[in-house]
Every structure is written in structure tokens, then in C-alpha cells.
Symmetry: C2
Subunit: 343 residues, 2 copies
DNA sequence: TTGAAAGCGCTAACAG
DNA sequence: CTGTTAGCGCTTTCAA
């Protein structure tokens, strides 16, 4: 008989964790009985109440914990659902990760999330790692190369879904970036007309042009201008990337006065825009209007902020789990409407 | 020979994932050779370059992914490091999770993080689940009952460390809340004296009095007043909990005019404070000073905000991994200084 | 009602 | 240089 784990509190070498064999010998029954009782299949095995309680008590007393590796090795489905996510350090992805975990648990799945720092190689490595953990299903969130991950999963026979950024080789769920941007642009245009009597185009600032979502938002921005009969020269669109500093540099480098209407693509960029305005146009307050494609509670309190677009994380995840529940062979692209917040 | 996974793209039943046996028969070698090559132990086994590359190429072609469950079952150490964290949906814990993952990987460990929604029961369940996954080490971040988790880990012979909130049964790493609060209070007091000629006490608002960190901050707040010779009546300390609404309600219920110096405990509370001020004292700008124990980029841009305290996430995690690397039997409480940001 | 035994995929001796 | 083999802890028939 193995020494009980309590006997020797890991001074250096681990005291072997208690197993069903330990429990079985301790009680004088068989490992299979212990297994059945501990994983709940014992009613159908018609094990006696008496034995069951003895086993459960002993497990409790010994601090027994199932060895998932061994258990999963024997089963066909792991009930593990994996997610890769670019960043946690961000309200949007943080909310996705948190809500995803909660919903996965509610669906009886064990969520494992891993963060890839927007690094394509890490993304790939992380996907492989999750496959190694035998995930039943993988969610690729904001993946720079979702199709590569889809291929990987296909060859492992694992279901995969794209979230936030679409791919062509798996069902994708994203925000409706075009519609959200269209509406935001329209709202800002209305406000600069009404409040400041400005009839010209807005400035689009922030994001990466190569990024699918930014491209969609630019399309919405352009369509809003077209539909409102406003000419939109190309240099009014400045996808200067995400860091706040990039927005500041872009405004420094602008070959014209800053227009009184600003469409800011992400709170990250907004941070830079506000810093730049405070530094270079100290009297800007009341003399311009802006809106932001992204939500932040403090940003919502800034003067002249007329609207924020918030992505509907709950809505997207609800759709996600619907699809997980009822798989289909077709690869759809589902666009979830954004929430629009007038500030 | 099993059908290749590519052959049949999981229409319904999973095509069994490729194993080392598949690879071995495919190539005409033994599973152990495949295993050795694929896990890097093949130099010491002196396997030929030729065989090694053939195996690696075949693995690549077949989309082979290690079955971690099987691998870990055979090994003694899992190199999995677990972390429980109360929320992701928050700059602070988001940063902790993200940096932790990166550092764990840099140390050759596989990080698994799970979020417990500030729910004590879920906290316990999550810890058990991570133990089931055979973590070598568990980090309990912001745990409401760290000692209970320490006991659980002790009985499984697993190392455990507390982060953010201290416990008595394991080494704990937290911010130096007392020193940070002392310095923040002192700074705000200086500013209300210099800018507004106000000599009275500040108002402390936000947080939970039962929460260890808030208690420490209150102590720092009190000590700063005492050392600067300011009398501090008890009703100037209002730990009204974390939601923004609670701060608004607390200010509504205040039995005195709002003092011109505010010590706000967390950006969450600050959100409520700013909303309340905008509503109830529209002309407050320039007539008060506040500081916040927590950092937010947009909050830093608010007028009258004279300082923010940012917890040193990188510093804390650096200490954490130092301790993981060189275990010691004593349970220390390490306090990491906060970063002080004058705005 | 219960136990024995096979085997999940992999690793690590040990034998060639 | 390479193959055989014995388990890791658990689940799951199949027998008793």
C-alpha cells in the first residue's frame, strides 16, 4: 500500500497523488467499483448505497482528485473547449474570455483559453498545444491567419470556429463592422452639421488597413459619406495602426487642419487623439465632435464624444454556442449587430 | 492501417487522431523511435538523422499532434502551471493573466488560467479542476479564501502561491497597498493645500472594508493624515464597495458637503464619482482635486485628477517566478511597491 | 451486486 | 542505432 499523501507533505519529492487503487485497497474493494462510484455511473452498475458512501467518504478523507489525463485517455470526447485570443489586456477580449468561460461551463465543457499576443507563430503553436490537450472544439478569436488554424484542426478532425475575425474555412462570427461604422459615421455627421454647421467629411483615424474589421469599418464610413452626399477625399482616411502614439504621430503629420468631426477606430487610438488634442488644441472643447468604434466607460465621459459603438460580446457568444450545439457543414459568416451608445 | 485523417473530414464521427503507432507503421519503424524523435530525446538515443527527418516529415504530413493526456500520464511532472483569477474583464487582472501566460511559457511551463467570477465556490471548484489536470503549481490570484485552497493543494502535494491577496498558508505576493495609499493621500493633501488652500481631511471612497487590500489602503490613508497632523473623523472613510452605482449612492447619502480632496479606491468607483460630480456639481472643475488607487488611461486625462497609483504587475510576476524557481519552505508575504503616476 | 482484465497513447528502461 | 515491453490511472465490457 502506498503511503497516504497526508503522511509526507512534499518536502521535496511529491507524495504520489491518491488513486482509485489506493482507495480500493484502503476499503477492500475493487478499482472499478471506486471508479464507478466516483464518476457517477454507479446507479446503472447497481452498487450498494453502503459501498458508495464508504467510497465517497474515503475519497473525501484522502483528498482524492481525479487524474484527468488518465480519464480522458480512456474516453473518446474530452469535453474540453479551447479558445485562442490575442490579448486579455483589453476590455473587449477580456469580456470575451470571461463570458466564454462562463458559458462553456454552463454547457458542461471545460474551457481552456490561451493568449497569443497577436503573434501569428504563437497563434499556431497555441492551436497545436490545444489540439494536444484533445480539445473537442477550438475557437480562433481574432486570429491573424484563421484558415491556417482551420486546416490544422481539419487534419486533426477537430471542430473549429472563428470569432471576431472571419476565415473562409470555418464558420465565422464577427461584429457587423460595416453597419456599426455606417451608423456611427452618420451620427457624427448629423452632429457636426447640427452643432457646428460643418458640412465636410469626417476624419477616420486608427486601426490597420490590412485588418479585415478595419476594412469593413472604412467601407461603412465611406458608404455613410456617399449616402449623405459628402465628398470624401482619400487623405481623410488614416488607418495609422493601434498604438496611441501612432494616432498622435498621424495627427502631427496631417497635411490639413484637423476636421471638426472625428471617427476614431478603437479606444486605443482615441487615447492618442485626446492626448494630441489636449496638447495641440487646448481650446478644442466644444469645437469638435467625435465618436469611437469601441467602448470605454471613462471615454464615454469625455466632452464632445457623441457616440460609442460597443461590440455585442454576449450576442456573439450566444450565437457561437448555438452553432457548437447544432453543427452544420456549411461555413457561414454570421455578423452580429453592434450596440450603439449615444453619450 | 488506420484511414488517414485527411481521408474523411469528420462528417460526424471523429477520424481518430494520428498516433505514434500510425506513424510507425506508415514508415515501418517502431513507436518508441517515433516517440523519441518527436519529443526531442532522440539525440541521446542516437537515432539516425535519416530516420529522424523521415519521422518528422511524416508527422508534419499527417498533422500529428501529441496526445498530452497520454504523455503526462507517463511522466511525473506535468509542467502545467495553473492560475485562478477573479475577473478578466478588468485592466489589472487582464494584465496579470496576459503577462503570466507569457512568463510561464518563457519558463517552459504550460499556463492554464481559469476565471472564477469572484465566486468562492467556483474558486474552489476551479482549484480542484486544475489539480485534476495535474498542475505542478497553482497560483491563487485575488482568492477570497486562499487558505482553503492552500490546504487543498497541500493534500495533493502541489505547490501553491497567493497573488494579490495574501493568505497565511502559502507565500503571498501583493502590492504594497499601505505605502501606495500613504503616498497617494499625501500627494492629494499637498495639492489641496497648495491649489485650494484646504487644510481638512480627504474623503476616502470605494472598495470593501472587509477586503484585505482596502483595509491596508485605509491604514495608509489614515497614517498619512496622522503624519501631516490632520484630524480624520470616521465618516470621511466610505468603503462603499466596488460598483460605480455604489459610489454615487454613497455620495448622495453623505451627511456633509463633498470635501475638495478625494481619495478614490479603484477606477470602478471613480467612474461613479465622476458621474455623480457631473450630475450634482456641474461647476466642480478646478474646485477639487482627486487621486485614484488604480490606473486607467482615460481617467488619467480627467481634469483635477492629480495622481493615479498603478500596481506593478510585471514586478509582482517577476517575484512570483523567482519564487517558483527557488522554492523555500517558509511562507513569506512579499509586498511589491506600486507605481505612482502624477497626472 | 461486484471484480478482473483489457487497453487508451505515450515514455523509458532494457534488449538487441 | 533500433525495437520490445511494461506500465502511468482510468473506464468499460464481460464474467461471476
Amino acid at each position: 500500500m502506498r503511503p497516504s499523501p497526508q503522511a509526507h507533505q512534499r518536502p521535496d519529492a511529491a507524495p504520489k497523488r491518491t488513486t482509485i487503487y489506493d482507495l480500493a485497497t484502503l476499503i477492500g474493494t475493487s478499482p472499478s467499483a471506486v471508479s464507478a462510484v466516483l464518476n457517477g455511473t454507479w446507479k446503472k452498475r447497481r452498487i450498494s448505497e453502503a459501498l458508495a458512501t464508504r467510497i465517497k467518504d474515503m475519497a473525501q478523507a484522502q483528498g482524492y482528485a481525479l487524474n484527468v489525463q488518465a480519464s480522458l485517455l480512456r474516453k473518446e470526447r474530452s469535453h474540453i473547449i479551447g479558445m485562442i485570443v490575442p490579448k486579455y489586456d483589453n476590455r473587449y477580449f477580456g469580456a470575451i474570455a470571461e463570458r466564454f468561460e462562463a458559458m462553456a461551463r454552463a454547457h458542461g465543457l471545460f474551457p481552456v483559453i490561451t493568449c497569443t499576443q497577436r503573434d501569428p507563430d504563437l497563434e499556431w503553436e497555441a492551436a497545436r498545444a490545444l489540439l494536444s490537450y484533445q480539445v473537442d472544439c477550438l475557437i480562433a478569436t481574432g486570429a491573424t491567419n484563421p484558415d491556417r488554424i482551420s486546416d490544422l484542426c481539419a487534419s486533426a478532425g477537430v471542430r473549429v470556429l472563428n470569432l471576431d475575425l472571419p476565415g473562409s474555412k470555418a464558420t465565422s462570427i464577427t461584429s457587423d463592422n460595416h453597419a456599426g461604422a455606417y451608423r456611427l459615421a452618420q451620427h457624427i455627421i448629423h452632429r457636426v452639421r447640427a452643432d457646428l454647421d460643418y458640412q465636410g467629411p469626417l476624419l477616420f483615424i486608427g486601426g490597420r488597413a490590412s485588418d479585415h474589421n478595419t476594412a469593413e469599418r472604412i467601407r461603412g464610413f465611406e458608404d455613410a459619406h456617399r449616402d449623405m452626399g459628402i465628398d470624401l477625399p482619400a487623405h481623410y482616411i488614416v488607418p495609422c495602426d493601434y498604438e496611441p502614439e501612432r494616432a498622435e504621430q498621424a495627427l502631427d503629420a496631417l497635411n490639413m487642419p484637423v476636421p471638426p468631426g472625428l471617427f476614431v477606430n478603437s479606444t486605443i487610438s482615441l487615447e492618442g487623439v485626446v492626448r494630441w488634442l489636449n496638447k495641440n488644441m487646448p481650446d478644442h472643447s466644444g469645437r469638435l465632435r467625435f465618436g469611437c468604434f469601441d467602448y470605454d466607460a471613462f471615454a464615454a465621459l469625455l466632452p464632445d464624444n457623441v457616440a460609442m459603438v460597443e461590440q455585442d460580446v454576449d450576442g456573439m457568444l450566444k450565437r457561437l454556442f448555438e452553432i457548437i450545439e447544432s453543427p452544420s457543414d456549411t461555413h457561414q459568416h454570421i455578423r452580429v449587430p453592434c450596440l450603439f451608445k449615444i453619450t
